[in-house]
Symmetry: C2
Subunit: 474 residues, 2 copies
Amino acid sequence: MIAGKVVSTAPPLRALRYAQANRPRFVAELGAFVRFPSVSAQPKHAADVARCADWLAGHLRRIGMEGVTTVRTPRHPIVYAAWRHRPDRPTVLIYGHYDVQPADPLSEWTSPPFAPTLRGNDLYGRGTSDDKGQMFVHVKALEAYLQSVGALPVNVVCLFEGEEEIGSPNLAAFLDAHRRALAADVAVVSDMPILAPDRPAITYAMRGGLGLELEACGPSHDLHSGLFGGAIANPLQALCQVIAGLHDREGHVTLPGFYDRVRAWGVAERAAMARSGPCDADLLRDAGATQSVGEPEYSLYERVTLRPSLTVNGIVGGYSGPGGKAVLPSRALAKLSFRLVLDQTPQEIARLFRLHIARIALPGIQLSVRTHLMAQSALVDRDHPAIRAAVRAYRNGFGVTPVFIRSGGTIPVVSLLQERLRTRTVLMGFALPDDRMHAPNEKFHLPNFYNGIATSLWFLAAIGGSDGYHAHDY
Amino acid sequence: MIAGKVVSTAPPLRALRYAQANRPRFVAELGAFVRFPSVSAQPKHAADVARCADWLAGHLRRIGMEGVTTVRTPRHPIVYAAWRHRPDRPTVLIYGHYDVQPADPLSEWTSPPFAPTLRGNDLYGRGTSDDKGQMFVHVKALEAYLQSVGALPVNVVCLFEGEEEIGSPNLAAFLDAHRRALAADVAVVSDMPILAPDRPAITYAMRGGLGLELEACGPSHDLHSGLFGGAIANPLQALCQVIAGLHDREGHVTLPGFYDRVRAWGVAERAAMARSGPCDADLLRDAGATQSVGEPEYSLYERVTLRPSLTVNGIVGGYSGPGGKAVLPSRALAKLSFRLVLDQTPQEIARLFRLHIARIALPGIQLSVRTHLMAQSALVDRDHPAIRAAVRAYRNGFGVTPVFIRSGGTIPVVSLLQERLRTRTVLMGFALPDDRMHAPNEKFHLPNFYNGIATSLWFLAAIGGSDGYHAHDY
């Protein structure tokens, strides 16, 4: 762990003052950014995603960033910018994503998801924290430097993608094609919660992901369940049987081979996690739950980080309107996602899953599997100099020393940057556990926005060597 | 069984000629009737249901029916009419329903569900067979008599309801409140398939129904499945477990007590069913299936008629749009329907189901049950004189002696008429097994429409005694 005392630094005072003076405008601009329904998963929002990218590119130009380009991909564009006027200093790659999760179910939102609304100290709307608000922290830090000092303390590359929520399908190809333009000494990603407004945290591990669709097909057309019920296979029933069979009573995943490569962690790591991470009660409170499920031999924090898991995200089939309908549907679909840990690969788990499904024989039912997301897990070296810089930055920005935490989430870019560009990533979160990322009434806590901008300013200063930190350490 | 030779009758010749001459107009009028999206289950269609009732009432007035009234109920109106100018003759109650099933999934319709379309000899559209087309058979028979002869051969009461597809919740009260106006010697209901265009059939048994919603509630709000997956209970997962547990591997329903009152049928009944009913291959073909499921000790025809069953009609929960969404939903809902047989009551099965669900302990999950449909099974005496009249009518209308069949479906009115008014019902189907009642691309086979009208004319004549059948037999 990091020593508790504050290191003396050369503070980015003018930029900090600029940021403080412009808070109301920054919030209004974040609102404009959130107003775009840039839902990457839904084809009907493709034009909104593109408009959002254009707005973001224009915004980057206005604040003084250079080389701003909106790069097409087979699906949603990537917004790129660079500022490279410090040949003697390191380069920081700032990654963020301007696409958002679907807003469904719409009826559960207190205010409309794409009409950002301020209630108390929180800005509500889809994407306010995931990830528009958190990436905007860095955008506003860049503006504060460029508009107050006229320069950045480091070289900066911005990589803002529009496909994170669908598994970044075109990011690897983009990284491969633009190695030179993306060359950086360290990357920073802000797309995760800290523990509380006064408990900042640096994430050092994330789970990988594997998103699947499991389809069951039965009769050639929907049938009257009165006339055929009891004799003809029901795809919905089949899905229930298959899904129920994927967990045992204690919550372990029963997919054969699933745990074969899962690493057992030692006493030291687990003890450190118990000290720094959320306790069971914290996790239950954030979830709005009174009871937990899952592997009893692990704490809840361990269950969602050290251990892999499988979640049914949705089932589609039959009649879903009000009242009833006597239908025996011809097909049904389940959306499943695995979260994977170190040494598990989504490719191998997908293979095991297909094998398992192929071995299931249900009369009258054809099962098929489609993959729609694959992302590796990530583990960051806590002793890396850039991580130490991030610790100092949080201490200055939030006034508290951050702790190191694992996340159960998945950010595909982290392992991609490591594999493709050999760039290490600092995971610097500004969201809160109850910000409802992916759920109705998503919000962003504005004090975190303000402290986040200060933290980003301090981080850039620290990487730039303004606090005695040396570039050649990279 | 009925003797094969044709009984000499006094034929309703003028009415038959009228019906034949007006076929194109009859089809056009049926199209106008189908055009109303009178979906009783969906509140957004309440006004359409009301407009459809008004259209039907107007139509009955135009063809010469009397006492036409649109009677309000707490939900959808009942259309009533009567023609009572034959004090010496019996009264026939014609029951039908002008409400229809929801049209979902819309994308699977070849032509829009409420824009009736003729392809070959079939009229496509929601409600063309269930039940607008089949009730219209009788409406057109009434018109043919009234407009050609100027009178009916019997007294007639029309009872056309708008809530059949939601379990006829207000019908019992209506029957109780209007016993005198509804008094009849026999009722006829046409809302079921025959075996084929050249294999007419009289249905003598129907299953009862119990429609339920099973809801699972977990965390207080939707969660990010990456951040909480593996530690917090998933209501969708819970529903899958509960539903999977409701059948054993052989397809028996495992609900404790479910089969306690189910009657075992003797060799004679089962042999008669094997002779007259659809064989396994027929049923598989009509279902568009290659394999069956369910209780192996019964034929498919027996499984869907003699035996009760349980079908999952739909599951709602989590994300159902394109691509994926990393959500762990806070709640999920399953729509289930039981089909029940003689001596089982929906009330008792609902009680057993609630008991069973209350005994299930899933940590972090609250399960709840709502009932939305209850209907008794029905069994008709095949030796009743009105049934014998129906046999003769089919023989004249279709040119073939009908067989007796059981149906797996449920028509709540049959047991209600028996219990409340002591009126026996003749179940006289004109639909086909592949008419896709309740499914996309529902159709009505127009030769059945025409032969049905002839059959209805002969049936009314037979009940009226025009073929030597005596009123005092009732």
